[in-house]
């Protein structure tokens, strides 16, 4: 049998399956691209099922059902069942809107192992404002109770930013009340919609330090009850994050229309053609596609990454951030203190100091032109 495996390339650990871009929420930091896929462009049940079979054969161990809101897919139970039968560990990443006890019971029966529930705030009014949906916050209590009653482990994912960091202690307390086993306190990562709304969301240094201290104290106080994972914002970093654990090293992402990406934001990069699941198998794409080869390992690096002793720790940081901020995806991530572009982050922090809390919600159509009007232009 011909081995598809390339030299020194490990199989991926996890697949992010973006089943749809449809979502009842309109969060202004949504990680979906500015150009959202339509329902009519989504992969069908049979194709997703084949993708899960190929993923398991390739060595993928976990699949994260995501979106958009995966619950809007009518075939979600069937897809979960297919992935679980193939040996994949199935996580559901959801806002919880539209989840009821009957559907959850079917998902559990199909093999769902874990639910990650998004949380926009501790208070209903600002929570609903971020979500862009009245009543969104209320559903979190109902859905968390359903998940716990079903015996599934619950992660609460709280995205934090300048407008809700003042309530971080309440957010942590709410996660405990909701029965979470695990809480992700995730500072907004500034790509796509969030980058467009950066000035309204980026916290101050003081807010960040206070938040970090609150998380440290809560970790000690809640040890054994609540596991807290903390994602810090790049804009105050000294070293860049090891984005996705390195390009094409750990993760792959399949978009609603079937493009295979090394990360969910990679489509923003110019000059790369990402194959679809209809064109090649996941294994062929993972081991042999030009797009996955492009930034894999260290050979693509220029200085200061090329000779850096941290080059196999952070893998040059994030390609999408390098491109979004410098216009060149092959440059060192500006989050790195050694980057010649590191000052760009200081400019963004400065811009956020005086900005109003107004943001634009994610939405279909004409987004980029609308955003150009609303995003303050930095000098």
């Amino acid at each position: 049998m011909r081995s598809l495996k390339g030299a020194n390339i490990e199989p991926p650990l996890a697949l992010l399956a973006e089943l749809t871009h449809r979502c009842p929420l309109r969060c202004p930091y949504c990680s979906n691209p500015l150009e959202l896929s339509r329902a009519s462009a989504e992969l069908d049940t049979a194709t997703w099922s084949r993708v899960f079979d190929e993923a398991a054969a390739l060595g993928v161990l976990q699949v994260h059902f995501s979106g958009g809101e995966p619950l809007v897919r009518r075939d979600l139970v069937e897809l979960v069942g297919h992935a679980a039968k193939g040996g994949l560990y199935v996580n559901l990443i959801t806002s919880g809107i539209q989840l009821d006890a009957d559907r959850l019971a079917l998902l559990v029966e199909a093999g769902l192992e874990h639910v990650q529930l998004s949380l926009q705030d501790s208070d209903p009014a600002p929570g609903d404002r971020i979500a862009g949906l009245a009543g969104a916050q209320e559903t979190k209590h109902r859905v968390a109770a359903l998940v716990c009653a079903a015996g599934l482990p619950l992660t609460v994912n709280a995205v934090v930013h300048r407008q809700n960091l003042g309530r971080l202690e309440d957010i942590i307390d709410l996660a405990v009340t909701l029965g979470a086993d695990r809480l992700e306190v995730a500072h907004v990562q500034y790509y796509g919609w969030a980058l467009a709304n950066r000035a309204a969301l980026l916290p101050s240094r003081e807010q960040l330090d206070e938040a970090t201290a609150i998380v440290e104290a809560a970790r000690a106080r809640l040890a054994g009850r609540l596991v807290i994972d903390y994602v810090v914002p790049d804009y105050y970093a000294h070293w860049p994050k090891s984005c996705m654990g390195g390009w094409g090293r750990r993760f792959l992402n399949v978009t609603p229309s079937g493009k295979v990406l090394p990360c969910h934001a990679a489509e923003t990069l110019p000059g790369l053609r990402f194959p679809t699941v209809g064109e090649a198998s996941l294994a062929e794409i993972w081991y042999h596609s030009a797009a996955f080869e492009r930034f894999r390992g260290t050979a693509w690096m220029a200085e200061p990454c090329r000779s850096c002793e941290r080059r196999e720790i952070d893998w040059g940081g994030c390609r999408c951030q390098a491109f979004a901020l410098t216009g060149d995806a092959a440059r060192t991530d500006p989050a790195c203190a050694l980057s010649p572009d590191h000052e760009l982050l200081a400019g963004a922090r400065h811009e956020a100091q005086d900005a109003t809390p107004d943001f634009v919600h994610r939405q279909h159509s004409s987004a980029p032109s609308l955003l150009r009007q609303l995003v303050p232009q930095s000098a």
Partner: protein, 96 residues
């Protein structure tokens, strides 16, 4: 109030949490632990320890077994085993 994680003691009987999976992966030819949004790739020594988590043996018995198997002082083995098991309890991969 510092509730703290329950500290495991020698008499504790540990088992994998209901949604943690410890299994052999044919693709990698290696043992793995799968848990909610966590993936652990235990080294050889950790695999030896985890294979003794059977919901019957207590922690003392696991240490005794490994000390005998590797002909090593019991306190040396305990120094490896206890922190690892405590870490997995803290991460909710194992429970008492």
């Amino acid at each position: 109030m510092n509730t703290g994680a329950p500290r495991i003691e020698g008499g504790a009987v540990l088992r994998f949490a209901p949604h943690a999976r410890f299994r052999f992966d044919e693709v990698r030819q290696a043992w793995i632990v799968l848990a909610p949004e966590r993936l652990l790739l235990p080294d050889e020594q950790a695999v030896e320890i985890l294979r003794l988590i059977d919901g019957a043996r207590d922690v003392d018995a696991i240490i005794d077994e490994l000390a005998g198997r590797f002909d090593a002082p019991r306190d040396v083995i305990a120094g490896d085993v206890l922190p690892m098991l405590q870490d997995l309890v803290d991460k909710k991969v194992l429970r008492q």
